[in-house]
């Protein structure tokens, strides 16, 4: 037994990688169900989108790159879907240069998914670009762009991503600045949500809702406590909670099952490592005392 524990202490880390990889594959191929509790920041986020006024769009800023997609894409899909199902229009922007391609793909895919579902269910409704959503694309200068939208959105984005003047976009007719919007949603793995609080939420009072990677989440809890952020989705867990609230089995819900089993595996490894360490250490101590 002791030999086995000693071997554990010098275990090649590649075995751990292999086990973690296998656990993820098995959990995704043969998923089970798991209960997901809803936390207050996610509930607040959901409630604001759910109760948004129909004639006041939500500004969704895609402030992410490919490296954080696994965590943030499920959030964006869930939020965009939720808004469309509630007839809430979306003004999409991108503050990061890598984001336009991602934003366009998610908006188009969710639009197609919902239109297919409407058609299958015989519902006479279609989500359309220009009426239900507009994508404004990327503009350089994060703070200047956010402050500019606070004055007049046309000053910063005279046209949408496809070159159509905002005056010619039906849903933008009476939209000029944050006062005409229900909320600002920013999904990012960077400090950009903090900038939205500084330059949009602070000056105008528009609720700022953030979706962030798990790594960034602890940095933003202080803003939740002060009310500067009205809601937050933290990592895959936050996204899965949002999907639960929508009663929708998306990417995050499936991912959380794998997440659960990986956490169990990591805890087992930590326990084994500690047991091995303390057992072999006590053996070493005894040997040392005998030698003395």
């Amino acid at each position: 037994m002791k030999k086995l524990l000693q071997k554990l202490l010098v275990l090649d880390r590649r075995w751990i990688f292999l086990v973690i990889g296998l656990v993820v594959i098995i959990a995704l191929v043969a998923p089970c169900t798991t209960s997901i509790g809803i936390t207050t920041p996610v509930q607040s986020f959901y409630d604001i989108i759910d109760n948004a006024e129909k004639d006041k769009p939500v500004l969704v800023s895609f402030d992410l790159g490919p490296s954080t997609l696994p965590e943030l894409e499920p959030m964006l899909r869930a939020v965009v879907r939720h808004a469309f199902l509630n007839d809430v229009q979306i003004i999409a922007t991108a503050m990061l240069i890598q984001a336009p391609g991602i934003a366009e793909r998610i908006l188009v895919e969710v639009t197609e998914e919902l239109n297919e579902e409407f058609e299958d269910q015989g519902i006479d409704r279609r989500i359309e670009m220009g009426k239900d959503w507009v994508f404004l694309g990327f503009r350089a200068g994060v703070a200047a762009v956010m402050l500019g939208i606070g004055e007049e959105i046309r000053n910063v984005y005279p046209t949408d991503y496809y070159g159509t003047y905002l005056d010619d976009v039906p849903m933008m007719q009476n939209i000029h600045n944050y006062y005409d919007m229900s909320a600002v949603v920013t999904v990012s793995g960077t400090q950009i949500p903090e900038s939205w609080v500084m330059y949009a939420g602070g000056p105008s009072g528009v609720p700022v809702l953030v979706g962030v990677t798990a790594v960034m989440a602890p940095n933003f809890y202080a803003y939740l406590q002060t009310g500067q952020m009205a809601g937050m989705l933290g990592g895959l867990k936050g996204a899965s909670e949002y999907e639960r609230l929508m009663d929708y089995d998306g990417m995050a819900t499936k991912g959380m099952i794998a997440q659960l089993w990986v956490h169990v595996t990591i805890v087992i490894f930590i326990l084994l490592g500690n047991v091995a360490y303390f057992v072999t250490r006590s053996g070493k101590k005894k040997r040392l005392s005998v030698q003395r």
Binding site: P70, T159, T226, G255, Q259, V262
Partner: protein, 264 residues
């Protein structure tokens, strides 16, 4: 099992495997994927910046302003119609064509001056551009940062907004009264969270107060502060593990679903 037929899904899948091959050991396949990622990133950034910033924010307004100055009104209208511009650029709605040209060229020149860093003899000129940029950025950031990070956070350590819209102190006697009237987990956390937050902030700040030796009351507070810091770091680390595992799950989901078609 339904293998992907899209060539780009195969490219992405193979590059993903190349990257994960690093877990076995560093190898040429990993290096290839790493360098391809770097090169593609730079190319993509350049193209997006060129078409989303240089063309709409500089080149189009500049050419329109120059033509406005050099063409007759009829020819200018014909040019605008031919090029599909139904509106004047924002800058020309606010300024005359001459002033617009000046306002467009000035930042472009300031930007170009940054490239003087490549010529050692005149590299000092780039400092003017950097000074301008830092000055403008600081002017925008300082008041908002002060408001967001200091004043609002300070307020949040003293009072909180109640659900009915009123402002109540963070250390609330009412919350304790509610707890003693109906003891329970929820009322207990309502009562304890405010004082705990105040204690945490004060003690953590005490730990970073180095003008006096950490002995006596200050030493005790600093030690409590360390506990709050450690709990904070622990929470951050837990979140970090979850984040990294999520990235792995995302890639495996891609490989299994989009590439191999074995998981729905």
């Amino acid at each position: 099992m339904e293998l992907a037929t899209d060539i780009w899904v195969w490219v992405a899948a193979i590059l993903t495997l190349f990257v994960y091959s690093f877990l076995i050991k560093d190898n040429p396949l990993y290096k290839f994927a790493e360098h391809a990622m770097g090169g593609l990133g730079v190319g993509y950034w350049t193209a997006v910046l060129f078409y989303n910033v240089i063309i709409p924010d500089f080149w189009e307004p500049l050419t329109i302003a120059i033509r406005k100055l050099s063409m007759t009104p009829q020819n200018f209208d014909a040019f605008m119609a031919r090029e599909g511009f139904s509106q004047m650029p924002q800058i020309m709605q606010d300024f005359s064509p001459g002033v617009s040209i000046l306002l467009l060229l000035l930042p472009a020149i300031i930007g170009l001056l940054l490239f003087t860093r490549y010529i050692p003899k005149i590299a000092w000129i780039s400092r003017f551009s950097l000074a301008f940029y830092l000055g403008a950025a600081s002017g925008i950031a300082i008041p908002n940062t002060f408001q967001t990070r200091i004043l609002e956070q300070l307020r949040g350590t003293i009072v909180q907004d109640a659900p009915d819209g009123s402002v109540v102190p963070l250390f609330s006697f009412d919350a304790w009264r509610d707890f003693f009237a109906a003891p329970g987990i929820e009322t207990f956390f309502d009562a304890i969270s405010g004082p705990l937050l105040i204690l945490g902030v004060v003690c953590t700040l005490s730990y970073f107060f180095f003008s006096k030796e950490h002995k006596g009351i200050l030493g005790g507070m600093a030690r409590i502060g360390i506990w709050f810091l450690m709990i904070g770091f622990g929470a951050s680390f837990g979140y970090t593990v979850m984040g990294r595992v999520s990235l792995l799950i995302g890639r495996v989901q891609f490989l299994l679903t989009d590439w191999l078609g074995v998981a729905g």
